[in-house]
């Protein structure tokens, strides 16, 4: 039995799954009393993130591994972010926020490529550990070097 049929019996729409709480009410806050345990997904979005994760699984053909549709979506997001970056650069009124905005956009793009195109999200934790450790060390040296150059100068 494939993943879709196993989880949804093949008859639940993606939209319903994304926005329904426990499959029957839109945007419902679960009814609770002080005595009851905290219900799962207790918030107005009814487990939106959890369900969004399921959508990603569906897009990846239920293999828990990205598929072509998934890749096209990530590429479209990367393209759109690049367009926003260039647009931001061309608007003089937004120039005072240029540096932080570009850093945030590039971090998002970086994370998307590493997590999904490089499969780090789906791969062995050892690879993430190696790469992230090197990133942290690199950023640390980067920051120390910039701080030192800011306070002491570089003999220019």
């Amino acid at each position: 039995m494939d993943w879709w049929a196993l989880n949804y019996g093949g008859n639940m729409s993606l939209l319903k799954d994304l926005f329904f709480y426990q499959g029957n009410k839109w945007w419902k806050i679960p009814e609770t009393t002080e005595l009851s345990e905290n219900p799962k997904n207790e918030h107005p979005f009814g487990g939106f993130l959890e369900k969004a994760k399921n959508i990603l699984l569906i897009l990846s053909s239920g293999k828990g591994h990205a598929g072509p549709v998934y890749y096209w979506i990530i590429a479209a997001i990367l393209g759109i972010i690049t367009l926003i970056e260039v647009w931001w650069f061309t608007v003089p009124e937004l120039r005072y926020m240029l540096a932080p905005a570009m850093l945030i956009f590039s971090i998002i793009k970086f994370a998307l490529v590493v997590a999904f195109f490089m499969h780090l999200r789906f791969d062995h934790k050892m690879f993430s550990t190696i790469f992230i450790t090197c990133m942290v060390v690199g950023i640390l040296f980067f920051s120390v070097f910039l701080l030192l150059s800011a306070f002491h100068g570089l003999g220019t």
Binding site: E85, V86, V113, F117, F127, I130, C134, F142, T156
Partner: protein, 215 residues
Amino acid sequence: MSTNVTIQHGEEINNSTGVSAKKLLMWTFLGSDVMFFGTFIATFMAYRNKSLVGPYPEDTLNIPITSVSTFVLLMSSLGIVLALHYLKEARMGLAKFWLLMVIIMGIGFIGFQIYEFSHFANMGMTPQVNLFGSTFFTLTSLHGAHVSLGILWLIFLLINEYRGNLNSENAIDLEIAGLYWHFVDIVWIVIFALLYLITANDGVPPGGIPWIGGH
């Protein structure tokens, strides 16, 4: 020490780590390359706005052209994941098509870089003219060298694919090359933001001599 022998993407895993040795080696190399590029990016940022003679970034950098080349490189990353996906599924026609597209896009990116460098040289901006030129050319040409190496690697893999030596059984070889290619892409993401978009409006710093034109 006991070892488990498993097969992942056609590669026999018989070491104590339980992961592909090729992949582990590539991730370790990429980790070291992060620090390598980090050093050059930090140097560029530390010397930002310290050039006392022109040309300055606002005189030289051409954002529209670099945006196109950035987009081309981003899309080549899509191409390589698609090539790998189809190779794993043994859909060889699509795998070859996307690998060829990645090579073309890579060559296109290098073409943009050659155009940019020659344009800068015509304007009088060379590595030895000022701090901006030195740090800019060092970083972007090192990145260009990485892209060029990646193109050669992918051409080699494409030839192997046509000869039937690269197939779904040993897709790990393309996966490793793909990791390298994506890394080159993410480095460019950072370079595009820091060297181009953030720096492009930098003009004459305090104490600097205004630039009056090229040779």
